[in-house]
Symmetry: C2
């Protein structure tokens, strides 16, 4: 008898699960149906700033696999279809065809919940005014770019100084707009970096002309003829023809919660290491789930494409009889902001304090290549180590070309719970065009070790 695997959500997590399942089981053995309420599948939302900034000219370039490509692979993708209810007992989903509003019930044997995340929208007057854009879906990206292309806006205000806010700020500068950025924190990337490292990013933004208004929150939006005209904070009113919200996301776990699937305190769907939810045969992956932070052991929300892809793979294998695990995360992330690559992994000093972990922190300045080699660029590396046992628990890097990916070395060290003294002894590569003889990450680790 043919089994039926139903996937809710057609982006990275859901379609990776579907594709992996398809490779493991023949169509006569397993039918795979994926419901996606939007028009796109398997796309890179991370690429939206580069599409808006015109580094990428065609939105289709951000699509890794189209619905038709999935169909040719034997996955029955139904775009424009929203799953509105899950009946766990009867193993059915209720699906709404968004073209005509008709509902139909679809049975499943195995279910994959990959409903992603929904953006936070500040609950302030005027939030629904035309000209205020989120950047969550590819359709959002198309809308922002169209606004820039067609409306010739002159002034943009970005609300939120996280990765996406900063990347959008740079994109809009590139498109010739005058850009301001508002965030409640004291430095950009306040969730990802300590303030000393965030200040470096702030300086880079300033250098390309972005005006920062830090430590301020949005009180409301003013409109003219129904279109946004200004952003109000307690301290100022900023004229704006275009507003981008980069105020973060929360897991879209409503459907799962309503169906009786366990939701964690974080608001994300709870799964085990095999990515199975509290319901047998119901799996979840991507931005809608909570995951384990390997450093603190806490359950956390880290809505990133890398995890969505890895978790989707785990689901695709386990939902078809395999047995693999998703081992958790350590909070590694990277971005490129103007000339600077920004990267982090593990805990900041601030996060360590919140978690009650006593730490030492060392910060060093160096260059990406041997000092005498052309193109040696500045790099700042910060390492956070647990005072009690010397283990590296966090790292942050801000620097020019070639700086950011060095975080992966430190991420691998954090993953392996290495002592900073051993990190400083690592046999890393050296050649004048790619590193100084003491790689900056070794210098930072040595300095941290000397503080213990």
């Amino acid at each position: 008898m043919t089994e039926r695997l139903v996937v809710i959500g057609g982006d990275a997590a859901g379609m990776t699960a579907a594709s992996r399942a398809r490779r493991r089981r023949q169509p006569e053995d397993l039918e795979i149906v994926a419901f996606e309420r939007g028009p796109y599948t398997s796309y890179s939302a991370c690429g939206i700033p580069y599409f808006v900034g015109d580094l990428v000219s065609d939105i289709d370039e951000l699509v890794a696999r189209t619905p038709d490509e999935h169909r040719r692979n034997g996955i029955d993708v139904r775009t424009g279809h929203e799953v509105v209810a899950v009946d766990i007992d009867r193993r059915r989903v209720r699906v709404r065809d968004l073209s005509d509003g008709a509902d139909l019930d679809e049975p499943f044997d195995q279910l994959v919940v990959a409903t992603g995340a929904v953006p936070f929208r500040p609950d302030v007057p005027g939030i629904d005014t035309d000209g205020i854009f989120g950047v969550q879906t590819l359709a959002d990206g198309v809308a922002v770019r169209r606004a820039v292309d067609d409306r010739a806006p002159e002034r943009a205000v970005i609300v939120g100084g996280g990765y996406i806010g900063l990347e959008m700020a740079e994109a809009l500068v590139r498109r010739g707009l005058e850009v301001s950025l508002i965030d409640r924190t004291e430095q950009p990337m306040g969730m990802a970096l300590d303030a000393d490292m965030g200040a470096l990013v702030g300086r880079a933004l300033g250098a390309v002309g972005v005006t920062l208004h830090m430590g301020e929150r949005v009180e409301g939006f003013d409109a003219d003829d129904g279109r946004v005209r200004a952003v109000r904070t307690p301290r100022r009113t900023l004229p704006a023809d275009l507003v981008v919200l980069g105020t973060g996301v929360r897991p879209d776990s409503r459907l799962a919660g309503e169906s009786g699937i366990a939701i964690g305190e974080t608001g994300g769907i709870v799964t085990d290491a095999r990515m199975q939810t509290s319901v047998d045969g119901v799996w979840a992956a991507g931005d809608c789930v909570e995951t384990v932070d390997r450093v603190t052991g806490n359950r956390v929300l880290i809505p990133l494409g890398t995890h969505a892809n890895k978790q989707g793979r785990v689901v695709g294998i386990n939902a078809t009889g395999g047995d693999v695990r998703f081992p958790g995360v350590i909070g590694t992330a990277a971005s490129k902001i103007c000339a600077y690559e920004v990267a982090r992994s593990g805990l900041t000093e601030g996060q360590a304090a919140q978690a009650g972990i006593g730490v030492v922190a060392a910060t060093i300045q160096a260059t990406t290549r041997a000092g005498y080699y052309p193109g040696a660029e500045p790099i700042t590396v910060k390492i956070v180590a647990e005072r009690a046992n010397g283990r590296i628990v966090g790292a942050q890097i801000v620097g020019e070309e070639g700086a950011g990916k060095r975080i992966d070395v430190l991420a691998t060290a954090i993953w392996n719970r290495m002592h900073v003294d051993e990190v400083a002894s690592l046999d890393l590569s050296y050649a004048p065009p790619v590193a100084p003889v003491w790689d900056p990450v070794l210098v930072a680790a040595r300095k941290a070790a000397d503080l213990l």
Copy 2:
């Protein structure tokens, strides 16, 4: 009473030891004397190809710290002085002043042997002809560059297809010479890379016009008026106005051996993990010592500046009453050859076979950035894993800008003896300007895991 620390050799290992010792002990407590037979101290021999290629215009840029700078730091550096004998029993070295040939005896309490390496010179007719250059010391680099600047050579032949040979080939192409390269191995970097990866490097060299003659050995050199005119192999006679030897080095352990200090089977000075030789209070560091390969457990020779610096630090601390260890190496190395960054760590397939370790090997092609992001360049990653237990034991990378330093992630994985399945699950950084959503090292690790 003032103690006396004598250092033999004024480059990375010796002067790092001296500097570290100076930071730990006051001059009235410890006198530090360093003997160096050449004119330079603390220089980057790795930078010579960039000086010859005119990416670096002043040889002084390759000097990290001059003799005078060391003297100002309280180290009595005596350049132009060669230590010709060590009397272990009487705790004295015999030093020759190369300016007048006078010998004098200098006492020591602690001795640091940092005599470095000597280049192999093929034992063939004509090897001492004018116009044949080694590239071991800064003086060698000055001589090669002077020959290029002053003699206007048109054709160069490089003997040896390792890092230095290839880097010099590129440098001479940059200076407008017609360059050929001869090596006994079938592919460039035959000691560092498997042939499949070496072939990629060979292609890059061919693309910039270097003619490769692989699988050939030099039989002799022809001269005209005492100056080199051609290089002979069994298959051809290559006209040459300039010849560069990149035929490797051996540890300069003669002095130590003659003094009764233990020399290992590799020919390098034997030390313990504290870098102490077989003689109490006599330490050794740098290219003259053998070290432990952490992957195989074997004693090996890896003459690299990174190890010289780390070992020098260990010696400087231990020789002044400290207690730190050099934990060994895993054979990480990198180079930039034309457009390609080349890097490796651990064992190649070939080396694993020699060591009797059964392995699987996976090779993948990917890009350095998200495919749609401008400047996404090709990268090839090869991972070697032990068949019996799945642990990663080796990695090789060839690719364009941003490829090479990714080896450090895999080096850290090899160092930690990670299973390739866990490597594939690592939480590495992702952003379209710096990586695809599945970083190439993860893709390679996954492929290796799937072969187990």
